[in-house]
Symmetry: C2
Subunit: 255 residues, 2 copies
Amino acid sequence: MKISLIGSGNVATHLAQALNQHFAIVQIFSQNLVHAEQLAGLVGAHAINDVSQLEAVDVYIVAVSDRAIESMADQLAPYVQHALVLHTSGSVDIDVLKNASTHTGVLYPLQTFSKAKQVDFAQVPLLLEVAIESDREKLQHIASTLSTRIYHYSSAQRRSLHLAAVIACNFSNYLYTLANDYLDEQQVDFDLLKPLIVETAAKISHHAPHSVQTGPAVRGDLAVLDKHFDMLTDKAELQQLYELMSQGIINRHKA
Amino acid sequence: MKISLIGSGNVATHLAQALNQHFAIVQIFSQNLVHAEQLAGLVGAHAINDVSQLEAVDVYIVAVSDRAIESMADQLAPYVQHALVLHTSGSVDIDVLKNASTHTGVLYPLQTFSKAKQVDFAQVPLLLEVAIESDREKLQHIASTLSTRIYHYSSAQRRSLHLAAVIACNFSNYLYTLANDYLDEQQVDFDLLKPLIVETAAKISHHAPHSVQTGPAVRGDLAVLDKHFDMLTDKAELQQLYELMSQGIINRHKA
């Protein structure tokens, strides 16, 4: 099976190198020819910066930034018809590829990549989707050479996963920021909290999060809740958040 | 220096064993004599369940539940005058000991203890407070035999630390719960998020949390924020939280 990559960023770089163990990587396209050449050199492919130079291969993988995928697919359309065209994004629908080919799919590696850091692809969860059921086997075959952790999810499910990641990860980090800001103001060393924060996150590897909830809200300790609420009297944002989260915890554990 | 322990729970058990390496543990008081005897046996002390049997020692450590500390201190008053009386709680003021003795203090080990699990006390942060400055040296001496991580913080600072721990740890765990509940409903495996959650917490060991904030809010990606907001239309609590947290992140990074 012959594969070409559209893009030369972090995801394209890691994918091309991992796929090169099992497949022929034919061309690397990038608008920046120097970037295309750097990656092409690593995998024995040809670098191009003009889509009209694309050769016919079995699979094109569009690994560009989320907002560039759709226009890239439109540009590819005349050259990639009948091939399988994939994108690699967690938050973009499979539909945006529809102008490029009738055979489209998604190969989304759920991991943060940086160019410098080696990635053990075998441990990276891969989320797959195809527009036409008959393409599933081909995509599954490609994915199975990369990782043992393969999931078949729809675009809607990928979107839900992204939203859940924002809630569980981005918002947690914001809570750490709020705690850090507050402790700086009270001249208390934020370092003291770090082991507890790491332990809190580590615990959910082996327990459902609701089953390891601790703190005054789940204990129904109204004296502490009232005291904390008073301590935040002149901090409107923290106070509102404190009330909302505590009430949420109380409701979640009432059932 | 002679020390007696009031209490036979997790903190009392770990403290008594650690202190026994350097000091004579004279008596263990517990209302439940069997519990007192169990701990007394471990450290070569005498078990009592009647405060009037307390012998004169240099330091009494009150390691009982938060809400029992004040009434325990009142009961101790006739027997412990002139000795140093300590409690071990993060969320209780030093003042609640004032009826027991003029020499009072706090020795708060910032760690979750369970009876079964061994604790390496040398790594446990100890937060110290004294009511009278002249007692600081004695408390510092006791603490320094237990741990190298010693902090001198006021009752107000300990309270702030506790509030910050609720925000950073208890509320994070609630965010994990919300993400888990949401993904269950969307038939997406919550396990997929676990490595990201652990990595998010681990990152703050080496970076200020505000400097490693990621996600649509800090990128100012209004298209994604709007899409997520719409996805939560029939989930009032999640939607309100999403808006509050995203707005908070945007404001925090505007400066």
